[in-house]
């Protein structure tokens, strides 16, 4: 859990009106991120766009959702007003009791994370650097922030995927050469999925490879909203 869900939600789109085509909505970003989740994986989804991934799993894919507060194997939320305070997820919501769930304490929950047993975590971000540094827990001018499980997840999950809007308020780039915000973890991000692009980070070579663009967006269009230098390595396909 990190605060990035709520903070990246403050992006107000494209006030200047010079986008070549519409950006994807949050659901579409989540849907694209969900497509890469592998059946049977143990997965931790951050709040915001990442949490929406659960609504868009491909047919036949079943994931084992983990939340930091000590639950594995939850699915949908209870109806409003029907939740049990003793059956909570890490976002403070109340899932339903379903077969196969497991409850445990916070020691065990972070053994699972720190021990590298989480296959994938999908998180939000304030900034991601070209080499995969992630900043998603504090806005410097606020002076105080919340870490929660974000540092443990970012540093230790087998795969770290960022699902977010491509830019912050006023089209300020969030994908940067070097993060100026305090880090959550250095060199941890494997892939970024945004409302205009899918970018793979090749940490070994320090390259950001543009893999996909939203319909109507070119390499140059995406690069214009990205401070970090993007490269092409193989075909660029249209996001779907």
């Amino acid at each position: 859990m990190s605060i990035s869900g709520s903070t990246s939600g403050t992006n107000s789109g494209n006030p200047a009106g010079n986008d070549p085509a519409p950006r994807l909505d949050r659901a579409a970003v989540a849907k694209r991120a969900a497509r890469d989740l592998v059946d049977g994986s143990t997965v931790n989804l951050g709040i915001g766009i990442p949490a929406l991934c659960a609504d868009f799993l491909p047919d036949g894919v079943e994931l084992l959702y983990h939340a930091e507060n000590g639950i594995l194997g939850f699915k949908e939320l209870s109806a409003p007003g029907e939740g049990d305070p003793n059956l909570m997820d890490a976002g403070g919501k109340f899932p339903k009791l379903v077969p196969g769930m497991a409850f445990f304490d916070s020691v065990e929950s972070f053994n699972l994370i720190r021990g590298g047993h989480i296959d994938v975590t999908v998180l939000g971000a304030l900034q991601v650097s070209r080499t995969g540094d992630l900043a998603n827990w504090i806005i410097p001018k606020r002076g105080i922030g919340s870490i929660g499980g974000a540092m443990d997840l970012a540093a230790n999950a087998k795969r770290v995927v960022i699902a977010m809007e491509h830019t912050a308020r006023g089209d300020m780039p969030k994908i940067v050469e070097e993060c100026t915000f305090p880090l959550t973890a250095p060199g941890c991000v494997d892939e970024i999925i945004t409302d205009i692009a899918v970018i793979k980070i090749d940490r070994a070579s320090g390259r950001m490879i543009l893999r996909e663009t939203a319909p109507g967006w070119s390499f140059d269009d995406v690069q214009a909203l990205t401070e970090a230098t993007l490269v092409v390595d193989g075909e660029i396909v249209v996001m779907s």
Binding site: M1, N69, D84, P85, M88, D89, V107, G149, M151, A185
Partner: protein, 243 residues
């Protein structure tokens, strides 16, 4: 005859907590697993200069985090609103930007409180270590971040780790669903969270439960906190409307 661990009231259970004490408060954040009645008793006791150790702390009142919609949330912010607490160590004291300031953030901004923000996995492992006789351990979490400042770095097998130290407290206020008269505890669902580890890491552990049963009333497979760790037990009133 073993010592009687049962306190007659929440006020009695916390009565000896002095000003200046360090207090662990169990649960994860939200209503489930939070020792709400013990917290209210500590607030009513009025002692000051407290150091609080929590997890997701003080954000429920302004965000509703982890509380049913029909109830007014109660959270660790109460000790900062009352001016009793001057420090908190926790992982998540700040709500999102769209919410009003929490009591903890307000106290921090006004210079009334020190806020020590620790990665959640490091926080629980530090507490667990205090109970388990491990004075320090290495973790990969926090390397390359502000959390690493001033800490020893060390490489094992080519990866860099931070040295983190055990975190204990004078008192732990925790919440369980069931206790036997000996002090064995059983939890329900996700209410375990920080409670079992905190029970092991404080000089005095005080437990708020829904029900106290005779010895033998808890399945031996379901004793999630051993009686050895428990000093005092208080049972809630039947039908208490708070979770």
């Amino acid at each position: 005859m073993p010592i009687n661990k049962i306190s007659d009231s929440f006020a009695d259970a916390v009565a000896d907590i002095p000003s200046g004490a360090s207090i662990m408060i169990g649960g994860f954040g939200g209503a489930g697993g939070q020792p709400t009645r013990l917290m209210m008793a500590l607030r009513d006791l009025g002692v000051g200069d407290l150091t609080i150790i929590g997890n997701v702390a003080g954000i429920s009142k302004t965000t509703g985090y982890g509380w049913p919609d029909h109830l007014d949330p109660i959270d660790q912010g109460m000790f900062f609103e009352s001016g009793q607490a001057t420090k908190i160590t926790c992982s998540f004291p700040v709500p999102g930007t769209t919410n009003p300031l929490s009591e903890i953030e307000r106290a921090w901004r006004e210079g009334r409180a020190e806020v020590d923000i620790v990665p959640q996995g490091t926080l629980i492992e530090r507490i667990r270590s205090a109970g388990a006789g491990v004075p320090a351990f290495y973790t990969p979490t926090g390397v390359g971040t502000p959390v690493a400042e001033g800490k020893e770095h060390r490489d094992f097998d080519g990866r860099t780790y931070l040295l983190e130290t055990a975190l204990s407290a004078d008192y732990a206020l925790i919440r369980a669903q069931k206790a036997d008269t000996r002090g064995n505890l059983q939890y329900t669902g996700t209410s375990r969270a920080f409670n079992p580890a905190m029970a092991t890491a404080a000089k005095v552990t005080i437990v708020e439960v829904d029900e106290i049963v005779e010895v033998g009333g808890i399945d031996p497979e379901r004793v999630e906190t051993l009686s050895t760790y428990v000093n005092r037990i208080v049972q809630r009133e039947a039908g208490d409307p708070l979770p």
